[in-house]
């Protein structure tokens, strides 16, 4: 119960901070849209191929934008050692992890939702299975990135070259999650005659369970000096 209350307070702080520094959020969203635009140019005039790969473009955009969002989320903690202040209050490291990870999840979810109309405009992709399953894919995929992302952003936060270190640590770890998210999202867009969507979402949620559990357990090791 204590963990839930503390996580909720950390989450409220995260959301307030995101709102007060919303220019950074806009920049992150714009960066994600710019990647979509670049893919639309790189794909040339082959409309069918663009539409076929649109789920992949969406998730690569979200993944690249996640490094900005996650890095910013930890920059504010380390700039004046605010995370140390939280620990000395004392707040449990697990509560800090869950509060921050849920905050990052919501940011990635928002970025993904903003990207969806552009996916339709740029790649002529429409979700044939409906918007509900698409949002479920976005939620599960964002959750599968945000938990390990929060953990590794904290690991990288004190390093001198943290901007480079975070993707190097994070991307190999979340490749299976991104593959599952791309497959699930592709089925939502292209149609799911073989009923495979549930399986891919199951894989994604399994990754979420592992990453969110391990993150909560390991965060004290990462954040305590």
């Amino acid at each position: 119960m204590e963990l839930i209350l503390e996580s909720r307070a950390v989450l409220a702080k995260e959301l307030l901070h995101v709102w007060r520094a919303r220019a950074r959020l806009v920049a992150t969203g714009t960066f994600a849209l710019a990647t979509l635009l670049l893919f639309s140019f790189a794909g040339g005039l082959n409309d069918a191929a663009l539409r076929e790969n649109s789920a992949g473009y969406l998730w690569i955009g979200i993944l690249l934008a996640s490094t900005l969002a996650l890095g910013e989320g930890l920059r504010v903690e380390t700039e004046h050692n605010a995370i140390e202040m939280l620990l000395l209050l004392p707040v449990s490291p697990a509560a800090i992890f869950y509060g921050k990870a849920i905050g990052n999840l919501l940011v990635l979810l928002l970025v993904g939702i903003v990207m969806l109309p552009f996916l339709t405009v740029l790649f002529d992709a429409t979700p044939t299975e409906g918007v509900g399953p698409l949002l479920l894919c976005l939620f599960a995929g964002s959750a599968a990135i945000s938990a390990p992302g929060t953990l590794h952003a904290t690991l990288a936060a004190r390093a001198r070259s943290r901007d480079v270190l975070l993707p190097l640590l994070l991307f190999p770890l979340v490749i299976p999650c991104v593959v599952a998210a791309v497959q699930a999202t592709h089925l939502v867009y292209a149609g799911d005659p073989m009923d495979q969507l549930g399986s891919w979402l199951g894989v994604l949620f399994a990754f979420c369970v592992v990453h969110w559990s391990v993150g909560g357990l390991l965060y004290s090791r990462v954040v305590e000096d």
Binding site: A12, K13, L16, H17, E84, M85, D225
Partner: protein, 229 residues
């Protein structure tokens, strides 16, 4: 006999192969006020951070009020160089966060008034001067009102009125029975009210004695005391 407020046993802390603090053993009684002084880089900040469990010791152990330091965090207040504020939040938001997460009494208005930030409490901290940031850190310390107070360079960035405020605050903590460890270069000033002084020298405890010896011409007094030792 009550547990000592702080009991450090052979504490050492190493950064990248270099010992910042080495083999420091220290006992501070409850209610005692101790001045920690020494040259730049002598290990004062590291010692205070280890005692507050902000960083873990590489060697030795620290107990606070009879418990391992990490389990006694709610009893310790650390005022450090890095103030721990969130720049985009207002001063009041920062204090509200501390109240919520630290389960502290909601005396935010009174505390803001006390530190002289009531008029700017709604402004984002990024617009605060260094002295105002320090005052906000004092406000958080006042909210916590811990029985063990560790202050690292509390006078830095403050104007003369701020210096007076720090003196009053320390006197108030001491009057309430709190244990105060204060690391500063303002040796003559702090020696006026401290019980004991310790000097850090290249990471080790160099000299320890009655603060009264430092009340006049602190540099000479330290040299004489060290010679006697």
């Amino acid at each position: 006999m009550p547990d000592p407020a702080i009991l450090a046993t052979a504490v050492g802390r190493r950064f990248a192969g270099r010992w910042a603090v080495r083999d420091v053993s220290l006992t501070v009684a409850q209610g005692e006020s101790v001045l920690v002084h020494g040259a730049n880089g002598s290990g004062k900040t590291t010692l205070l951070r280890v005692l507050a469990s902000a960083i873990s010791p590489t060697a030795g152990s620290v107990t606070v009020l009879g418990k391992p330091a990490i389990e006694a965090r709610s009893k310790v207040g650390l005022l450090s160089h890095a103030d721990g504020h969130y720049d985009e939040l207002s001063g009041r938001d920062n204090l509200e966060l501390a109240v919520k997460l630290g389960h502290l009494p909601d005396r935010i208005d009174a505390v803001l008034e006390r530190v002289g930030l009531a008029a700017r409490a709604g402004d984002a901290v990024r617009g605060y001067s260094a002295g105002m940031r320090k005052r906000l850190a004092f406000a958080r310390l006042l909210l916590k009102a811990p029985p063990v107070v560790l202050m690292d360079e509390p006078y830095a960035a403050l104007d003369p009125a701020g210096h007076q405020f720090v003196d009053e605050l320390c006197a108030e903590f001491s009057a309430q029975g709190a244990t105060v460890l204060i690391s500063t270069h303002q040796v003559g000033r702090v020696a006026q009210w401290c019980d004991r002084a310790i000097r850090m020298d290249q990471g080790r405890l160099g000299w320890s004695g009655d603060a009264s010896e430092l009340r006049t011409r602190p540099a000479d007094a330290v040299a004489a005391a060290e010679e006697r030792a």
